[in-house]
Amino acid sequence: MLRFILRRLLQMVLAFFGTTLIVYALMFAGQGDPIQALAEERPVTAAQRAYLTEKYHLDATGVGGFFYRYFDYISNLLRGDLGQSLTGRQIGDILAAAWPVTVKLALIAMVVTVVFGVTAGVIAGIRRASVFDNSTLVLTLLVLGIPTIVLAPLAQYFLGVRWQLFPPTAGADPDLYALLLPGIVLGSLSLATALRLTRTSVAENLRADYVRTARSKGLVKRRIVGVHVLRNSLIPVITFLGVELGNLMSGAIITEGVFNIPGVGFNLFRGIRTEDGPLVVGIVSVLVVVYLVSNLVVDVLYAVLDPRIRYE
């Protein structure tokens, strides 16, 4: 087990540098004129252009220029310096401010997904073809069909503005209550997927041989479902949730925008819009780490859930 984790961690280092290289190359290739992009439509003076070009080595172009800037970036990164965004802010500071709120938001979404999605999925799986099962089927279809870009403003308008049940926006330093609505909106899509995944998995496992054996041994139903079925049914759900954690953190661009939460998605959006290469690379690098770590955790959890799985 230890060797497995160690090997995975070493692979992560390679994957990390590989992705930064790719993202850096994409941003580099797609870069037009970041100075003008920053100034939007205002004229840029020659002095200002010269100053920014010098400061960010924007005159280093072509293949040689790319590797010069990439290695410059990496060597700074190894010293713990993520560089500066084009407005002169330390990217490390931006990320330090953005991550906590995004993590909070993602955790709320995750809790919502697990508590409601998995629970309802188990119930629907046990009572297959019941009214509950059918109504959740329709509801999840509906949720899966509405994109966040529609769902988020709708929820904000009705629950925030019209009925005033939740604050319409969360802001930079929100309390749990203010994050609840964005968290639910963000989690609703994974909730629907998790529900249907759990339902199918539970329904399938209920017909498995070992359940029949357990039943014939005279075990109570709660123990059969709670220990035997659930444990086996959760493997696909855990896989899904592991990937989803990364998605929730990076995919909150729309939700964070609608509810004005200055998290990672918010900054990623700004970085892309203003062609701020270092900022985008910084955010994506951290996201890559999140994905890698959550996948590692999922793999370790497999072994916990299913003793037949062994890592060498």
């Binding site: 100034a39 004229p43 802010r89 401010a97 509810f259 700004r270």
Partner: protein, 534 residues
């Protein structure tokens, strides 16, 4: 507000008299007693910088307008009057004497002196400091010596201290409207505390700027979240009517709009276009509009043969129904334009392009054919600015009214469009926008149409126009300057290098918790007028 809007739109001489009586009238719901100690919450975007000489976007300059008091401000007729300055005078428009009012102190207790201004301006003009607004100082003598990678000088030779409260500014060329320029953000002073060494800005100054204005920083700039300021009681000028302001940072105006609707935010400066149609019902009289300084035009590459004939350009202008487009596409959030300067500057006249601004498809077509206009027209724009709808509508009008082929060509970003224009690539007609730096006709004419103008992408050059601009700059009074600029505008109207299409308009709204919400010429909320309702 209502009075000011009228004044700005019609620019009647009457406006001055109306303006004088306008002091008491406020916009929106004027009911409820005001609470002089409450804080109001105003929406901004994340400022790029909070150093006066480095701030050239509205969010940053909105925050700085709380922390600093300008040398001059503008009255109802959009003419400058002294605020932090006692007087700004010149006998020859070249050497200007600025006398400061006594009693102003910075928020750290430091006295405001002539040096505070000279240090700030020298810092702003020095090219290696890379300040966004450095070009505001280019009219001052010695500016060129501060440019380049290794400038010859560190201070502007045109700035001289006379005594603690007086300094002189020598310009490279006479400029009659220098006094008008001084109201802009770039001309604020900086305290000694802002510098760690002479000419070196102290690290961290930007996080909590110290100014001499009606409000002082409360804590530091909380990036992406808010900037809070509280009333500075030792401020000698006109006192604000609120205890403080929280500038709350939003990335999307739709989020701010939802907050205003539920009284979680007091002022939204730009109501998003998608909410404009319902804003009047949602907010009632708390939805307000006022003229903004921006001007949208469709420009001709006059250096290309097919567009070199002014008759062709006029015919195209006459084939466009501005009123229809502003109404159906912009839902009256902008106003049709038929002049080259915005109604917010002194000297504005309505309809200076005359017949070229009238929608007359029959005459347009006859003129176009007689002048031999091109069979195919391309309209270029930046695809990220929401311009597609009106470009397509304009194209359809040109197709129908001139019988030409017309296509819209989207460049990904404005920067891409500029790159092509600088290379003089063939892009056909292209959209341009202009927001003034200071309320002067010159600011709408010089940079855009003079032969060596910094934003003249049309290749337009007319010696007569250049001469009139130079004469305006050298004129002995502001009124005489305006006459010259108006003559220059008439030359433009003859040549029509661009088609004026629309003036911008501020569409702003506020919650039930504030009143007297007004927008100034620089699209900033007037922080001295706004009041909180108990």
């Amino acid at each position: 507000m209502r009075v000011r809007r009228l004044a700005a739109w019609t620019a009647l001489p009457l406006a001055v008299t109306l303006g004088l009586t306008a002091c008491g009238s406020g916009g929106g719901s004027g009911s409820g007693e005001s609470d002089p100690n409450a804080a109001v919450r105003i929406e901004i975007a994340e400022p790029q910088h909070l150093v006066p000489t480095n701030t050239n976007e509205t969010s940053g300059s909105q925050v700085l307008s709380a922390l600093f008091s300008p040398l001059v401000d503008y009255d109802e007729a959009n003419k400058p009057y002294e605020v932090a300055a006692e007087s700004v005078t010149s006998s020859d428009n070249k050497v200007w004497t600025v006398r400061l009012k006594d009693g102003y102190t910075f928020h750290n207790g430091e006295k405001v002196t002539a040096d505070s201004y000279l240090d700030a301006w020298n810092y702003g003009a020095y090219a290696p400091n890379g300040q966004n607004s450095s070009y505001f100082f280019e009219k001052i003598a010695g500016y060129d010596d501060l440019q380049g990678e290794k400038p010859a000088a560190k201070t502007l030779s045109g700035l001289k201290k006379v005594d603690d409260l007086t300094f002189t500014v020598t310009l490279a060329e006479p400029y009659s409207e220098f006094r008008t320029m001084l109201g802009y953000t770039a001309f604020y002073p900086l305290p000694k505390a802002a510098f760690s060494a002479p000419g070196v800005l102290a690290e961290g100054y930007e996080q909590a700027p110290i100014g001499q204005g009606p409000f002082r920083m409360k804590g530091t700039w909380q990036h992406d979240a808010k900037v809070e300021v509280s009333r500075y009681d030792a401020f000698p000028g006109e006192k604000p009517k609120v205890g403080g302001v929280e500038f709350r940072i939003y990335q999307q105006p739709t989020a701010a709009y939802a907050d205003v609707l539920s009284d979680n935010l007091d002022v939204i400066k730009t109501i998003p276009t998608e909410n404009l149609s319902t804003a009047a019902t949602d907010l009632g009289d708390r939805f307000q509009q006022s003229p903004a300084s921006s001007l949208q035009v469709l420009a001709f590459p006059t250096f290309q043969k097919e567009f070199s004939n002014p008759e062709v350009r006029k015919a195209i202008s006459m084939a466009i129904d501005r009123d229809e487009i502003t109404k159906s596409i912009f839902k009256d959030s902008q106003q049709p334009a038929r002049s080259f300067v915005s109604p917010v500057v002194a000297g504005y006249r309505e309809n200076t392009i005359g017949a070229a601004g009238e929608f007359d498809p029959a005459r347009a077509k006859a003129m176009y054919e007689a002048a031999g206009g091109p069979k195919k027209i391309e309209l270029s724009y930046n695809g990220d600015g929401g311009h597609k709808d009106w470009i397509d509508a304009t194209c359809n009008q040109l197709k129908a009214n001139l019988g030409v082929e017309c296509v819209g060509n989207a460049e990904p970003k404005f920067a891409d469009l500029l790159t092509k224009l600088k290379a003089k690539d063939s892009v056909g007609l292209f959209r341009m926008g202009w927001v003034m730096d200071y309320p002067s006709m010159e600011n709408y004419l010089g940079p855009l149409y003079s032969s060596n103008g910094s934003s003249n992408y049309y290749g337009y050059s007319n010696p007569e126009f250049d001469r009139l601009l130079a004469e305006g700059a050298a004129a002995s009074t502001e009124d005489e300057a305006i006459q010259k600029y108006q003559a220059a505008e008439d030359v433009l109207a003859q040549d029509l290098p661009v088609i004026p299409l629309r003036y911008g308009q501020n569409n702003f709204g506020h919650s039930t918790k504030v009143k007297n919400v007004e927008m100034d010429l620089f699209d900033r909320i007037d922080l001295l007028k706004i009041e909180a309702v108990k």
